[in-house]
Symmetry: D2
Subunit: 294 residues, 4 copies
């Protein structure tokens, strides 16, 4: 259920708090603290007020906020006892579809983390793939306690920003989304390549690759919509596959038999979920080049 | 057991014929016919004399030569009843390590071919991968009889050329070998990339990919030996993998985390077994290009 | 002085004709003939009506229209006796700034053309450079008479379309403009190159090169405005110069002394005045690539 | 007049000294000092012995050696009073063909240098272009005296190495030569570009560009000989020009009219006279790329 910034500015404190109660997990007091600072000229100002409320809260209240978060892929998730937001977020990265082995691995990591830090492992899952969450576990288990508590708060602010951006219409948007795009140039003919079949795959060290999208380039050599857009780009490994031989065959361009290039794979990793990744292909039947553009 | 062209030129007819009896499968008469045309100034001239002897032979003798060849991956192979040459040739492409399903598939195709043409399916297997042999079956089963008989003779000449080139030292060599090479340029630093780990894989539509070779580039950005050389390049699909991120990490070049490019795959097909394929990589941590060179 | 399509649709026949009298050189009858076909839903429809009026006119009237055009760089131009439109058009390509030698060359070509075809040489100069006009003279002097009369009419329609598009505001625009743009990628750093100095030159076989524009790339690696836009791209030869060494020096990237690449020139020709030419540069201190995009 | 290392090893001290008297300008004592250290297993050992003799000499002898060198483009050169070696060396970089303005400029710089350091300006001219010598003047005029005396000795050793390598045959060669090469790949057709006309120009800030060489690529897309080889590469700016449009026109490949790419220029600088510079071009009618290879 979305609302507008104007409506929030005009609402009673109770209605304001109710509308934003879920932005911080089980912690309506964050919204309530921000209510007093109205009106907000922008969504960014509202988000800042909420993060400041958390930062200004006494340690035990911050602790309670952190501990209000569920385990990743934990028992609560299996039991269907998560908030609606947490359920959707964990599903977005496939944590609701783990094999028994994967579930056991997350269970062990959650336990190790709880044992060391006394809080649940919190990560803004919409910015991650399953592989990168597992790497985060490893990386953060090496932290000291205070550093890790800060890291957990930082992730909570990212989660809050995404929830807020999704729920409140305002003149501005929070910088929580990225974009992945491509462009295919036929440098054999000196024009954009129209009609190239493209496949985007998420690669995983642990699990099978997953086809995220299939598309065909338009007259400008681009896809009609970004390959990923309007959301954070999950940190992880990807492969773009371009059906080069089929394209040239359809245009009657002579090729070897079998063609020197058939399906061209480009493997790359995304490290900045809010970044713009442009991964073009300039090709002939005998050559190609690519780069990270933006 | 190898010999020299000079020795063959000086040998008795009987010795000459014995030395080259195996060049044409179970058909020493080909060598015998060539003996009369000595001396040979070159291996090419000897090879030409043997192919001319076959072409000049009466139809029934040609038929007998063709039929002297074993089935590919056939019962004789399983029973160990092939000539030494045929055994080695079939093993070179993995026909001695077929799964039961693959064996059954070859069996069916051999039968279909025999039923249509009345001769065994003959192909110069050293010029092929398992996948391309299966495509050859499909392609050649569509031939008419006389066209296919010519095709079979052509393959026999290729087999003969390879056997001859392997067994006789001469001032010249027959044009029966190809070469696959690579070269890695670090265009971030403006010099050849030394120490890049490279892997060459054979890709298969039907079976699992197979690592053919691992190598590391030398100071000139090349491998010390060609990736494939001194033999025909098997027609088929390949992938070269270049460990780009590890290279730049070792040199302290800043990269994203995870690196934008980690292992760069280049997939290509070889169509000309006697060709020179040069597949270079020019790269930075953020871009690369490749082409078919020679 | 511009007007709107709506105003033209609503005007008296006399006012309509007066407003568009100059679209066809000294030939208000073309506008008058189109007036009867009002209202026009689009500028394209108005342009079509005017060209149809010319095509439907009797031969002597067409001849008169053609002969109403001045010589290119002719005596009338030197004497200041051209229409305002012709004066501006001829100036756009530098025909008002010829050396005496160039003037004499145009004079000779005009005379040769008049002698062969009995009409003045007409070309839509806004689509050309001085060099390409000279090539057009050569090309068209080889025509037969009827073919060349058609060519002359075609150029008159192009001139009319450009005049019309410049003088009448409407919901649509005529397809009379092209665009030249660039984009600089720093593939050494994996991001757009901000702050690269760019120079665009027109190259001439006959005269000195001419700097058309200097610009500096913005944060997206592009120029704030197209290099050429909102007008036809003059057919001709161009050079883009990119100050690569200065860019990397400013960023502290190690280079050779002197730098391997300093100012990178890209020379290309424009053949389609209404086309989109995108000429990007992807570079490191040691390498670069470019292509025609769009 | 050349000799062999073996002959030098076997010669009398007087003959040895006479044979190498000119290696160090007007200073046969350097050869004489080295004679006592015979036999030399390699040219490198002989060169090292001569440089050590200079380094071990008392300051006044070193001063005398330095002062024995003529001014660059000085009065002695104009008067024909140089040693044969110096005459050839100065001619190699065009110092014998200066305009009066250039002569005056060198004269001023020589005087400024003499005034500051009390020695003639010495540079191994075979490693330079006229432009880079002028830059060296600027750079070295900023030195302190002892640093500059060392620099002068270093240049004398380079001159000596080049003279020695040119005059004495030995199993080894001194590392005094570089190589500039190119390679043209037609990635439109997937093969080396045979028959591309290439021009190599030396660019000069001060003077007109100079065509150093014209060549046509062979079947491997290379020139039969290196563009520059067997000598040091003069530090300076160069342009390679590749006649791309003519190549594709000859092969019937469709291009725009005029062709998008006609003559492709690649401008680069050489900074390492003893380096290997490989500057390839991979092209289609619509795109190209280049890099510094080796």
């Amino acid at each position: 259920m979305t609302t507008t910034l104007a409506a929030l500015n005009a609402a009673s404190e109770a209605d304001f708090t109710a509308a934003l109660a879920d932005i911080y997990e089980h912690s309506p007091w964050v919204a309530q603290a921000a209510a007093a600072r109205r009106p907000f000229a922008s969504l960014a100002a509202l988000h800042a007020a909420m993060t400041e409320a958390v930062r200004a809260a006494p340690p035990d209240k911050q602790q309670a906020l952190v501990k209000a978060h569920p385990d990743l892929a934990g028992k609560a998730a299996r039991a269907g006892a998560l908030t609606a937001d947490s359920t959707n977020e964990q599903a977005s990265v496939g944590l609701d579809r783990l094999t028994d082995d994967e579930y056991a691995r997350f269970h062990r990591l959650n336990d190790a983390y709880q044992a060391k830090f006394g809080i649940p492992f919190i990560v803004c899952v919409r910015r991650h793939s399953k592989d990168s969450i597992l790497r985060e576990f490893d990386r953060r288990l090496a932290h000291g306690g205070p550093q890790e508590f800060d890291t957990a708060l930082g992730e909570i602010f990212r989660i809050g920003a995404l929830r807020l951006d999704g729920r409140v219409s305002a003149p501005d948007r929070l910088a929580v989304t990225g974009r992945l795009s491509t462009h295919v140039l036929d440098v054999h003919a000196g024009r954009p390549a129209e009609g190239i079949a493209i496949e985007l795959r998420e690669l995983s060290a642990a699990a099978a690759d997953r086809v995220l999208l299939r598309a065909v380039t338009n007259g400008d050599g681009r896809t009609d919509a970004p390959l990923i857009g309007g959301r954070p780009l999950p940190i992880g490994s990807y492969e773009l596959r371009f059906s080069v031989a089929a394209y040239y065959t359809a245009r009657g361009v002579p090729q070897a038999d079998p063609p020197f290039l058939d399906v061209v794979p480009i493997r790359f990793a995304i490290a900045e979920p809010e970044g713009h990744y442009h991964v073009p292909l300039a090709m002939t039947p005998w050559s190609y080049s690519t780069y990270r553009g933006s």
